[in-house]
């Protein structure tokens, strides 16, 4: 009776789209997500190490060259005091200054058979950006001083030490186009998180809606006219359509934003987001599959428990596989076509997010995509088959939560 399924889907859809929470999540999620990511990207690009340190060295030229690098370098803007050469009580003085927090730390450089040996002493042990800045600046200062001593012309040294800009290009469909890795990465990142939120949100909505019908006892009324499968299918379709609507709004907004001239202004001048058609198709396709997989699992949980509170305890079942995708995010982004990334993208619970990400930031081979879709669809079929059985029995059970052997017995009823 597909008409019943459609009626149920329509009700579910209209009731959800009309709520305030739909409006709020549709507006807030991309704003928070995009804003947060934009902030962290922009911040990390423009952030420079800004500690106040003392440099102690016997070699005054080296110390001054290092001071120049640290104060005006590519990625550092520190305040540097130079003490050169040190006297007998210098060490005690800088230690005291550091302990009293007048300076963040001090760098002690000794010359050992013409090779400098540097030690950075500070009060914080994990200031990664400062130590990295010191390390690279020190190397450049040593090279510069070395060349100066060999009589190389100062202008030539400057030219040689100038930072190199790397431009990137991508070949897509036989055409070479200039690409901004940062932009591609940013766009993929935003959509990755949007998909994560959408799958999670709407998956849990399916479970919540089942529990609502269970606690309000609507099931009994419904089941006298409708089959359980029709109810479940209708619900998945309805909630899924809400998710698609939401994502549709986001995609349209993103397209509008990337077309508008103000986008570049909003993106702090350098960030301009663009999405290719293929990326959007992949996004929608993997969202639909991800939604079916996770909402199928959520529906089974919803049918087994009796209240929202009980549902909270089982959130993990859905949240954990999702969180696993976040843990592998960094290795996949840094090398989207490594064997690790390929295997992870074929694990069904990770496929929607990770495979989408690989498509967005690289060009994975077509058989990888095909394999991921086949495996994912097979898994979805299996999950929905199991869920339909649990659902049919579970929705009429009130009170006690079923034990595992009982659930196995439900699967046998047919």
């Amino acid at each position: 009776m597909p008409s019943n399924t459609l009626l149920i889907a329509k009700r579910e859809y209209l009731e959800r789209v009309r709520t305030k929470s739909f409006l709020v999540t549709t507006m807030l999620i991309p704003l928070l997500m995009g804003g947060g990511i934009l902030f962290s990207v922009v911040k990390s690009r423009h952030s420079k190490a800004a500690s106040h340190i003392a440099v102690v060295a016997a070699d005054t030229d080296l110390a001054l060259a290092l001071q120049d690098e640290l104060e005006h370098g590519k990625d550092s803007a520190m305040q540097v005091d130079v003490i050169s050469p040190p006297t007998g009580n210098t060490r005690q003085a800088v230690v005291d200054e550091t302990a009293e927090k007048q300076i963040d730390g001090f760098l002690w450089i000794d010359m050992d058979k013409g090779k400098p040996k540097a030690t950075y002493t500070s009060i914080s042990s994990a200031d990664i950006s400062t130590t990295q800045a010191i390390e690279s600046s020190l190397r450049r200062a040593i090279v510069r001083e070395g060349m100066k001593r060999k009589g190389v012309d100062a202008g030539e040294i400057k030219l040689m030490m100038a930072p190199v800009e790397l431009e990137t290009e991508t070949i897509k469909n036989g055409e070479i186009s200039k690409s901004d890795t940062m932009t591609a990465f940013f766009g993929a990142y935003v959509l990755f998180f949007l998909m994560y939120m959408a799958v999670m949100l709407h998956g849990m909505n399916v479970a919540r809606s089942i529990i609502e019908e269970k606690t309000s006892r609507v099931f009994e009324v419904m089941l006298a006219t409708v089959r359980p499968q029709e109810m479940m299918t209708g619900k998945l379709l309805g909630v899924g359509a809400v998710g698609l609507t939401q994502i549709g709004i986001w995609v349209l907004a993103a397209l509008g934003l990337s077309a508008a001239p103000m986008a570049s202004a909003a993106g702090a001048g350098a960030i301009h987001i663009s999405f290719s058609a293929g990326q959007i198709i992949a996004f929608i396709g993997y969202f639909v599959m991800g939604f079916l997989l996770y909402s199928g699992m959520a529906a089974a949980i919803g049918a087994m428990v009796n209240s929202e509170q009980e549902l909270q305890q089982f959130n993990m079942v859905i949240a954990l596989p999702m969180a696993a995708c976040m843990f592998v995010l960094v290795p996949v982004i840094s090398d989207p076509n490594s064997p690790f990334s390929r295997i992870i993208s074929l694990v069904p619970t990770c496929t929607p997010l990770i495979m989408y990400l690989r498509i967005a930031i690289s060009n994975p081979p077509w058989y990888d995509i095909a394999a991921s879709v086949v495996i994912l669809l097979a898994t979805i079929y299996g999950v929905l088959w199991l869920t339909a059985r649990i659902y049919r029995v579970g929705i009429l059970m009130y009170g006690k939560r079923p034990t595992l052997p009982e659930i196995l017995k439900w699967l046998k009823y047919s």
Partner: protein, 303 residues
């Protein structure tokens, strides 16, 4: 043609036998009461009639044919556990449930308004269900089951939780529907309502039918051996050997006779003894007494 016919139906949950060898049939235009103490199998029986569960053995026939889901389009079911979508508007809810039962939107809308007028709850139409009182929600639920003009109406404990005014309104509506020729089955454990309303009953206890038939048939199986009388004067006639038990109140007595036929004899003796009798009524047993007698005789009643 019987509207509903159950033949030797049996249903077992795990190891508990919920219904055993249950048979009865309901004719068109009949008010049928399914009686029994709590946990006796009333709801289990009803669920098999509307296809929520299937009998393990035996046959359920609706409209003369073995159970088919299609037949449910002609059936109304009001479950004991009432449920409506809380956040939905009343009218949307009624139209939705009407459409699920095969009505088109316009018809569902029209009939919803008609019924809301009939049950005097037009003011609830634009509200959300959760804003309504319990009694109003019950009426909405009741309407939602009747929108598709079913030929068979099945109600599980329809009176539980209703105040007397609404219960009377419901009874009147049910009687009207019966007079329109529909068959109505309802379960209850309140005998006073059954006695007034039902044309036929089936009494079940611990899953088994104990009594079944038209109200007349059932009552005729029990002797008319109870007498209520009001009198002045000597009460010596109560010592007649035909009197099994007598309770004497101030100027009146309730008598149980050993034999139905002994009533005239007792009356004659009282008159002969000079007692002034203002009332002497031979009564049939009430359904409640039959219920207690039958269910109580079977041992403990599951609470």
């Amino acid at each position: 043609m019987s509207i509903v016919q159950l033949e030797h139906v049996r249903k077992v949950y795990d190891k508990k036998v919920a219904v055993e060898d249950l048979s009865f049939s309901i004719e068109p235009g009949t008010m049928f009461g399914l009686l029994g103490p709590n946990g006796s199998g009333k709801t289990s029986s009803i669920r098999m009639m509307v296809g929520i569960t299937m009998p393990d053995s035996g046959v359920v026939r609706l409209f003369g044919e073995p159970f088919k889901r299609d037949a449910l389009k002609r059936v109304a079911y009001l479950p004991e556990e009432r449920g409506l979508y809380k956040k939905m508007k009343v009218i949307d809810q009624l139209v939705f449930l009407g459409q699920l039962r095969g009505l088109d939107e316009a018809t569902a809308l029209k009939r919803s308004h008609e019924w809301c007028e009939r049950l005097q709850i037009t003011e609830a139409i634009p509200k959300k269900t959760e804003e309504l009182s319990k009694g109003m929600q019950q009426k909405i639920q009741f309407i939602s089951t009747l929108l598709h003009e079913p030929e068979l109406i099945i109600m599980d404990e329809p009176f539980s939780g209703l105040d007397p005014v609404n219960a009377t309104l419901l009874i009147d509506t049910m009687l009207e529907l019966r007079n329109e020729g529909r068959a109505i089955l309802f379960s209850t454990h309140r005998m006073d309502q059954v006695e007034k309303m039902c044309d036929a009953i089936c009494l079940i206890s611990r899953g088994r039918p104990v009594l079944s038939g038209t109200m007349r048939e059932v009552k005729s199986r029990y002797p008319r051996n109870r007498v209520q009388m009001t009198f002045e004067g000597d009460a010596g006639f109560l010592r007649d050997p035909a009197v099994e038990e007598a309770r004497l109140y101030n100027g009146s007595a309730e008598i149980r006779l050993k034999d139905e036929a002994a009533a005239q004899q007792v009356l004659a003796q009282a008159v002969n003894g000079g007692t002034r009798i203002t009332r002497f009524e031979v009564m049939e047993p009430t359904l409640e007494e039959i219920f207690i007698q039958e269910v109580g005789a079977g041992g403990n009643v599951d609470a």
